[in-house]
Point group: C2
Chain length 322, copies 2
């Protein structure tokens, strides 16, 4: 019997990544192209379909059985119909029946979901969530995306709008968030907010090695703050401790409500290891209910840069290889 595979497609505001992913979650072929926002949706769809068709051909040459195409998309989706409501960062995609369009052209089953949900499913099937039944995955990037797997299935809620974990409020008097609320966890651990807070503190005149580094034209990034902390910079260590405490407070709420086995943290800010994870776990244990907080594991994501497209492929593989 030929080995099974799916095409995974990770649509992003900057680039589209796609690949042939086998039923063990390995990427066998990989492509990417820039998201050309000036082109019409039709032209963008033509480019996308052509790349997918090329990968399908490559997969067939390798004697793989392609089960379908999974797409992780950067916006709200009606998952059942594979319908794109809109993409906040790519104009022109409002109300696109993406699944219907691609199934007609590709003659293969197509599954579409929000990119954060796809990543959660990828980690669940092939990454840090293997072996668990109930997980929560968070991606700490510019925004904070989330996905929830319960009883082995993605949890979508009543209108496919569940798992917007980045907007859990941890301080109703906190910083204003783009979503219209205040003190959402995204306003503490989202990249942009994080950097703004570091800049604000630097302006207060506190001592930090960052000041010297920035004069040498280093760019202020979470990674730079993390290097400073590892070099013993108190200022940077304190920022990471507080960031971890904020995130830990949000996770404590999630643990009290959902009692998951694992929480998986991915994205740039999650790559700071103990600097972030230690205060997160300490705060979580202190604030969440004992039965739930003692048993939950907080772990880094395992799929790395492939997470998006492996997760997208998982949307097809989860239903068709078990």
């Amino acid at each position: 019997m030929s080995q099974k595979a799916a095409i995974g497609v990770d649509i992003g505001g900057t680039s589209v990544k796609l690949g042939v992913v086998n039923s063990q979650g390995r990427v066998l072929e990989y492509r990417s192209f820039l998201t050309d926002k000036r082109k019409s949706r039709k032209k963008q769809l033509d480019t996308l379909a052509a790349h997918i068709q090329e990968l399908i051909r490559l997969a067939k040459n390798k004697k793989l059985k392609v089960l379908g195409v999974g797409i992780g998309a950067p916006g709200p989706i009606d998952v059942e119909r594979g319908f794109v409501y809109f993409f906040p960062n790519i104009p022109g995609w409002k109300n696109t029946p993406l699944k219907a369009i691609l199934e007609r052209r590709l003659k293969l089953p197509v599954a579409v979901d929000n990119d954060a949900n796809a990543m959660a499913l990828g980690e669940f099937l092939f990454g840090a969530g293997r072996g668990a039944k109930n997980i929560i995955a968070l991606t700490l990037g510019t925004g904070v995306g989330g996905g929830i797997v319960m009883g082995g299935r993605l949890f979508h809620g009543s209108h496919y709008s569940a798992a917007e974990i980045g907007h859990l409020v941890i301080n109703e008097n906190g910083p204003r968030c783009g979503c219209g609320s205040r003190g959402c966890i995204e306003t503490y651990v989202g990249n942009g907010y994080f950097i703004k807070e570091v800049e604000r503190r630097l302006r207060t005149g506190q001592k930090s090695v960052l000041r010297a580094w920035l004069k040498k034209k280093e760019k202020l990034t979470p990674l730079l703050v993390s290097q400073a902390a590892q070099n013993g910079d108190r200022f940077s260590q304190e920022i990471w401790r507080e960031t971890g405490e904020h995130l830990g407070t949000a996770l404590a709420g999630l643990v009290d409500v959902l009692n998951p086995e694992k929480i998986i943290l991915g994205g740039g800010i999650a790559q700071n290891g103990k600097l972030l994870f230690n205060p997160v776990i300490k705060t979580l244990r202190k604030k969440a209910f004992p039965i739930a907080s003692r048993s939950v594991k907080v772990v880094p994501a395992a799929l790395g840069v492939d997470a998006g497209l492996v997760g997208a492929a998982a949307l097809v593989l989860v239903n068709r290889t078990k």
Copy 2:
């Protein structure tokens, strides 16, 4: 065919209520007795079993087919084994295999769950949640209990510890909570905290009709503050508005994470109608994501004083009458 029914038992720190409940959720027979905390667990179990047996006899006299006994218990439960970890307000029940003990004595299936979960299931099957698939139910009493029904089933999490919604943090710098955290929603809408906050504000010398009423020996309760607000007392109206905003913030987080169809509010503080519901709904719409917040309905609980035992009976009826 004879009509089906279950015995519902609502164990509380003050009294135990039990009844015969038919498959439409109607209470056909009702009993209650005081929780005698000075007695041994064995004696308490004897009393409980005797009352249940009496109801089973009564039900059989009415030609009802008794499917089993459902128990709503005031503490954490291993639902699969029907095992009581402990009851915070009734000593002596630590590690009690309640399901096993009662099934041996009653020769009937016994289901045990946390009382807040049972109430959520009761509202889902027979009350304000009828017709929905995904609901969240909150009981606003001394504490704030919660239950989550997803896809028609109670959601328990990995260790039966899910739905501790009262301890979702809405202000990490807020009042200290009994659970060890700060600014949990319970510290704003739990009865005791609510009354303490009213007292604190009265001490600041603000004008309020409550001051005169309290001099006439009225007891300060949420109901009294609600009557004052209905009488046009600005002080009391402001308190209800703020309480509603706090609760709305917590519900916005839940809506972003779980995207439910309905949120059902029960318990004393929820009986204040528009005073509470208006600011709750306004805040929720403002703070939660549009797709999820426009579609969710926030409604009062419908089962009233019977909620506990109807919910307990529902634990049996949900699996056996559909």
